[in-house]
Amino acid sequence: MRLAGKIAIATTVLMFIAAIVTGPVCAKVYKTALSLAITGPTSDAGNPYSKGVEDFFRLVNEEKLLGDDTIECIIRDDKYETDITKRNFEEFMDMGIPIYLNYSTGSTLGLKRDFEEEKIPVIPASFHYGNLENSHYIFLPIASYSEQVIGLAEYVANHSEGGTPKVAVFIHPSAFGRGPVDDLKKAVAAGLKVEVVEVVEHGKDLDNTATLQRLQNKGVQFVICHTVQSPVATLLNDAQRLGLIAGTFGEKGKMTFLGAHYTGGNDLIALAGEAAENFYWTTSYTITSVPGPGADAQLALAKRYKRDEKTANSHNYANGVMVAQVAFEAMRRAKARGLEINRENLYNVLNDMNGINAFYPVTTVGPVTYSKTDRAGVDSLQLYVVKGGQFTAVGLPFRSVYMRKIH
């Protein structure tokens, strides 16, 4: 009897252990990773971006959007330094991640060959068109910087009166800033009716008087900016002081300022104040100052995770949520097809994301479509303008015509 009792107890213990061990085998943990600038240059964008990624994956796990399976996303700061990004990426690869979220233009270009060798799908925060050249595994979340800048130039061409409008391009002194300049020139060569009078690479300028007056002397009416908010804010403040900001789009003798994704958002208004009025901005994201399901979803997510108001209303928070959504959607679809979550399958699922399989996140102004020949996610752009201290939508989402002609 005593032996039988011991066997019974041992059996019970073994069954208990087996239950514990076999339980998690059913629920899988999918690892992914993000390396970005939480500190250092551009951390004002990277910080809310990382929170967007973090919050969306928390939502996926808490709401069991992948059933019992969960996503573990490792987020590391790289201080905007490519060597640190590379080190992070190598460690992430050792962890066996099936999809990787990257950040800067420099590191995306620098690691492009690594991504090809590892055959891992990558979604960066950089929308540089050059990321897509000689590469198969980089998927831009939204329209490229080139498409944004050319789209703005097309808007200028279509909405300005009299003659060919004179345009200056105000850019960040880096690969990120210079990226779309050649494409814009190609679009002009292909027939886009604007004259690019000058490309201005800014520094840490305390006073842009000389630049602005030089541009005015050359008859520049439109300044398309492709940089971050701080230099644009200084430019706008100086333009306001000199009385150069157009009160209406294309006002004669004045300048209308426009900008691509990273120039705009609430931070620009915070930095430039009243000088931001009438600044035109384009991005593929919905924004919280324009009511709609995208704004509601973004604010609800931020509220759920107790984010401050600044983060909740940041377009870079939306940016982070969006890339997390795409990564999650790829995993969800792979799982629904009974596929293993690995690099190859996620790569194929992403390339199938088009036509009736297009992905519709509510925080963008159009669907995410990827294929082997189109690795820019949301192709549509929305134009916004600052009115009364906040961005409001101008017209309906649009697509660049000339981007299709030159690429």
Binding site: I38, T39, G40, P41, T42, S43, D44, G46, N47, P173, E198, V199, V200, E201, G203, K204, D205, L206, D207, N208, T209, A210, T211, Q213, R214, L215, N217, K218, Q229, S230, A233, T234, N237, Q240, R241, L242, G243, D267, A270, L271, A272, G273, E274, K310
Partner: protein, 297 residues
């Protein structure tokens, strides 16, 4: 002609702010022969303290600005007391390495605060309408910045040339051991130099932040951007910093106004100051007004 005058005014404005930013370097070097690599971080800290006092505590901005200068005065003095006092008598390179470490620590502390990765701007407190004289425009922000710079630089010049403590600081700069032998407290002089550098950095941070907005990356970059000004003026000359700052400001504005965008040139405003710096240093290796030391061996 109006265009030329506008560039002159802009150059003087920018140059004055450079001079004020450079002042902290000069004050520390003048008394201790140390280059404080963390100066940009102190500039940023000064700007953020002004903002925090104004927005979070509701103190009027002019008073916040003065309070921020007082706070950074004691903050920099504490930094010297905690980190640098024990290095008196050690090789200068050791002290400079400590300031590099200090830079990392201050970076880390600021990144832990909301100011590290958010953009802010001071509440508007000056008239929006710029002043115009014969077609030449200057904003109130710029004008106030220039006036504050002028007052501070005059005060520091007087301090070094006329006051007993200022003369003691110059003596310490010349020879620490000789200064000690005549009863000057070298540690006290070092502490005071750091404190005054902190004060001037807070003033510079407040002015720059009011022009560019409060972005940590932008603000602390001025610690490096003004380096050519410090070298050109002579590392230990307050007057040199002013003259060199204005020269640099004018060069930048004239380059942006007359060279950039012509003959295929671009970005000369950012490069030309360094080229001119190199040329001047070929002929004046100690800068325009730096002390030329002759050692008898």
């Amino acid at each position: 002609m109006t265009y030329f005058l506008q560039l002159v005014v802009s150059g003087v404005v920018v140059g004055s702010i450079y001079a004020l930013s450079a002042l902290g370097f000069v004050l520390i070097y003048k008394s201790s022969r140390v280059l404080n690599i963390a100066h940009g971080q102190i500039i940023a800290a000064g700007a953020f303290i002004t903002y925090a006092l104004t927005v979070f505590l509701g103190i009027p901005i002019f008073i916040s600005f003065l309070c921020s200068m007082v706070i950074t005065f004691f903050l920099a003095m504490s930094v010297e007391r905690v980190f640098l006092r024990r290095l008196i008598g050690e090789p200068i390179i050791s002290v400079i390495m400590v300031t590099i470490g200090l830079m990392s620590i201050l970076d880390g502390l600021i990144y832990l605060s909301p100011f590290g990765s958010n953009n802010y701007s001071f509440p508007a407190f000056l008239p929006e309408t710029p002043l115009n004289f014969a077609g030449v425009s200057i904003s109130w922000t710029q004008l106030v910045g220039v006036l504050i710079t002028a007052v501070l630089i005059s005060a520091f010049s007087w301090f070094f040339n006329r006051s007993t403590v200022g003369i003691s600081m110059r003596a310490v700069s010349d020879d620490q051991f000789a200064s000690m032998s005549i009863g000057i407290s070298v540690p006290r002089v070092f502490g005071l130099a750091w404190a005054m550098a902190g004060l001037s950095a807070a003033a510079a941070g407040g002015i720059i932040g009011n022009i560019t907005g409060l972005n940590f990356e932008t603000l602390h970059a001025y610690g490096i951007i003004v380096f050519p000004v410090v070298i050109l003026g002579g590392l230990d000359s307050v007057g040199g910093a002013v003259v060199a700052g204005i020269i640099m400001g004018l060069i930048q504005q004239f380059a942006a106004g007359y060279l950039d965008g012509n003959w295929g040139l671009s970005g000369t405003a950012n490069v030309l100051p360094y080229i001119i710096l190199l040329i001047i240093l070929l002929f004046k290796p100690h800068g325009l007004f730096g002390t030329h030391e002759i050692e008898r061996v």
